[in-house]
Amino acid sequence: EPIEKEVNPHLLPGELLLCEASTVYKYVQEDGSNRGTYGKLVCTNFKISFLDDDSASDDNEPQFKNKIVGENDITLQCVDQIYGVYDEKKKLLTGQLRKYPEKLIIYCKDLRVFNFCLRYTKEEEVKRIVSGIVHHSQTPKLLKRLFLFSYASAAPNNTDGRNQTVMFETLEDWRDELERTKGNVKYKAVTTNEGYRSLEQIPCTEEFTYFSHLMNIFLQIWCWSCHNGAALLKMSTFPKEQDDSTSQMQKAFLDGIYKTISKPPYELLKMDDLSSSLPSLQDIQTAYTRFKQLFLIDNSTDFWATDVKWFSLLESTNWLEIIRRVLKKAIEVAECLEIQHTNVLLIEESATDLCCVISSLVQVMMDSYSRTKSGFQSLIQKEWVIGGHSFLDRCNHLHKSEKEEAPVFLLLLNCVWQLVQQYPPAFEFTETYLTVLSDSLYVPIFSTFFFNSQHQRDTNKVRVWYFVDAVGPFRFLTVWDWCVQFDPKALAFLNNPLYAEKPKPDRSQRKTARFKHQRQLSLPLTQAKPSTKRGFFREETDHLIKNILGKRIGKFINSSDEPPNSLREFYDSWHSKPVDYHGLLLPRIDGPEIKVWAQRYLRWIPEAQLHGGGTIATAAKILDLMEEVQSLQVKMDEEHSQAVSGDAHSVPMLRNSARLSSLFPFALLQRQSVKPALPTSTWKDLEDEDDLVKRDDEFVDLSGDML
């Protein structure tokens, strides 16, 4: 009897093997052919993992690798949907199974698609593994059963002290932030009921309070202050008429705050109810569900079949339109703060969903600190993690209720990506950073995205505390500790080599001050000018437009008929000037400018890869050149210090840029050949142009030539 080579899964601290099945055949997604590899499929309390029987032969280690989640690992939270194939028919697997499928298709939330064939696996094992996977990844779960807790209790406390992210867990952090933005002139940080105790200690509203714990709700009102003093605020809507005393109390509290900020020195206040001015969470969820479906491609035929109607398919999902509307709203808010010097109060039922999206976006656009890595991470901490976004419910990590699910945080990342690709030098991080950040939403070893609120985290931390025999305090890991997931070589891909770093502080202060000054001066001027001009010309041309040319010309100069639109003015005027990568940044939002985040959504699709192409081709060239410049720098230093210079020093590391795939660093599959991808279905009827289609280029009767 042949001895089966034992392949053991790599287990994390606290990770337990729950079930396994051998001789599972994993198809290579690449084509319709049945190529693939045999291996073992296992399910643990953390992940589903496929262990390739010949994994030992895998000698070309990928350059970019996640240390926690390997390429054949799917965390339980990353599983989106599981389908079983019965006699060539796909069926969604959810709860109890009566029959076991021949094939298992797992669609992941990071858009990978896995095809496992179970035909060669023992029946018993099939039963165990399929029901195990379905049970652990698709059925409701208790919070404390999240892997997060087993990991936190078993793993050593190895938090990295070098992390520069401001966590906003202490009053000091808030005070510093107020000071940084000069918001401390009008706002201050207070804490009233540190032990999350009760309602008796509601703060006196005579003093403005933005920081309070109220009924176990973390209450944050102030978000950010603009250089001109205008502040961005957010608040939940006043509770509907209810009789119970708690909501009365809450209402009184919120009323008090509202009164305070509507009075001097806060008088200019614009309220924006996001639940009415933006799509609902339901809309967002529906749009994203349709959108992601376009990228969960089963095979090549699927890819080309959807390619024919690609643009209308994209449009019908409405996802890009939602991104556009959110970006537009952020521009509106920025205009209020920047031009009208008006405080903006964002309102939403809980103030923890779209409020977070808009307030974060506005800060990314207006505050260049938020475009650095630590600044962006601090922003996420401030607005989302401490700000109380219900990650647990919105990601449906516990499979409790699909009604609560909505990709609100993904929406933010998608919007930020639009800015990153429009203005690459303005960001310290890359799109790869955003992509791995989005993937981290589903890795339950970090507490960051696995609680509904800070309060929930803290109470559960305490509760777990008693379960475990651990001695001394332990802390959950934070996702910002990127070393947990990536080694230094891979981390380099998160940093943008193009980032135009702020010049030295002493010089920059003068510069930015001057810039702001100019900006404030110039804007009222540009606003005033065109409007007078329009008035002057309208008289002269009015009759021409109206009487003679009518609608035809009206189409061409329609802007002059509209009332002066300060938002349009603001947008156009900003876009007509050269970009200051450290100043205000406005996204371009016209139709052709809103794009699909190709790296995140197309990265696993082999048909979509360009060999030696894509943005990675230019990025690699820049990295090469940078290394050369750096080695020259080193040489210079050596020359100066008169050290013995040898030629052996620092030969630039050569990247084989020409052979990189555009999917890099996510190229999971290397095509065997460089055969071009050929569309399999291209023909489409041009219904409305039938008469044209049938014609020939030029009508000439050639039959006469024959004689």
Binding site: D307, F311, E315, Y423, P424, E428, A492, N495, N496, Y499, A500, T526, P530, K533, F537, E540, T541, L544, N547, I548, R552, I553, K555, F556, N558, H575, S576, R588, D590, G591, P592, A598, A608, L610, H611, G612, G613, T618, K621, I622, M626, Q630, Q633, M636, E639, H640, Q642, A658, P676, A677, L678, P679, L692, V693, D696, D697, E698, D701, L702, S703
Partner: protein, 602 residues
Amino acid sequence: MASSSTSKYNSNSLENSSSKQNLKDGTNWEQNEEIPRLPGETRVTDKDVIYMCPFNGPVKGRVYITNYRLYLRSVENDPVVILNVPLGVISRIEKMGGASSRGENSYGLDITCKDMRNLRFALKQEGHSRRDIFEVLTKYAFPQSHSLPFFAFVNEEKFPENGWMVYNPMSEYRRQGLPNERWRVTFINEHYGLCDTYPSLLVVPYNATDDDLKKVAAFRSRNRIPVLSWIHPETQAVIMRCSQPLVGMSGKRNKDDERYLDIIREANGQISKLTIYDARPNVNAVANKATGGGYESEDAYPNAELSFLDIHNIHVMRESLKKLKDIVYPNVEESHWLSSLESTHWLEHIKLVLTGAIQVADKVSSGRSSVLVHCSDGWDRTAQLTSLAMLMLDSYYRTIEGFEVLVQKEWISFGHKFASRIGHGDKNHADTDRSPIFLQFIDCVWQMSKQFPTAFEFNEQFLITILDHLYSCRFGTFLYNSEFLREKEKVTDRTLSLWSLINSDKSKYTNAFYSKELNRALYPVASMRHLELWVNYYIRWNPRIRQQPNPVEQRYLELLALRDDYIRRLEELQITNNSKISNSSASSTSPSQMVSQVQTHF
């Protein structure tokens, strides 16, 4: 650059107009002149007008018309609005409004341009200013309809480079390793006696005599016989081009043509079949039989494999571009952008053309089979397919000069009917012969350069410049339908080549990221997921969509400069250090004082 409408906030290009300036299009602008002028350009008239700018509203200005351009300068200096339009781009001039309407500026003029925009002016009734300007414009924009020469024949510009020297068919074939023992150069068409739309020099199979060629010509539409476009250096498989066979309703056969195709098949030393790509949709190819055309039947050509590439005719392409203009000019469709874009089918056609070219290239490269490409006449879709396939297979054509050779060879010399497709100097704007086939080709090239940003020596500006001068009539390059006619008009003697302009200032058209790579096949992905609308061309008149200079490229150029600076300083240092060692005196400045450290992340 054909022209630029300066946005109201970007207003400095003409602020100090008293000094001599070098404009973007290379025009010299002498002092004391109101408008830029090329040598040989003469002023005809000027008038006060109101320019109905679709983006900034009405603008009062003065319009100047020369024998080459329409130039408008706004009265107000802040912001100054400039229009600088070569008359060649004008496709149609219409009067709008008139005596029946009231008001002093009720006389309108609507000018439709070939480069995706319309210009509208309002003029005063007094002094027949509109009539004058209409007549002058019509005369100089459509010289062919008024027995006037193209501006190219009047142009007296001088360039350090001579673009007419770029393409020499003999040296291009030699570069490909031709002639060889299987392929020969024939002069049978020296006086265009065999085919008046082909070049004089052709490459044909060694085993086919000139007599054979004459017999084949009788069976091919307009005598456009199969000739060699490109040979693969390793597989020896070739790309051949021709027109459709004259099969007709009765399904005629021609032994000479059949034998000729077999000779071609055998010439690469492989025993595989000859692949014939008919660029047309199947139904159109069938329909062509009614007018005497058709395609190669399996019975007659048992050793050939025929596939149709489903690329539509010139009329479909023209309508598609018209629809595209509707959704991008003057305003970009606000809602439903994507489905509007899809309904134009423009990118879908691009996808089909690219897909066809990929198939041709792949067949020659990995299929090791020779390929014959034709459509109906072999001067539109065929030119697109052969030139794109050659661009994919031969890295030489991805250089600036190589691309010029490619255009010169596959398009200009092989008789793409530029005059008919563009309608140079011709007032008949509704001519159904007009079609944006060459624009579509350039768009495909742009899509490839977008997908492979380091593979092309030329940049986007190069492609836009080619398109601008496709219409401008400033150069002789794209004038007339065939080499035969160009020779008759002595175009190379009497006009300048566009490549003179470009090659005299190459750095402007060079892609900073270009990495030279030899003999690497480059296959774009012809998927809608990667195809994009070429915003910088089709929507370039809209100031709201105007692209900033590419920041990635700028940063790269900065780094290049920094590197060169370091190398220079290092060399200096090494020299001084060496002398210091000999002098044994030491006092050096600290390195950080000399060069600030490069600020980068890793």
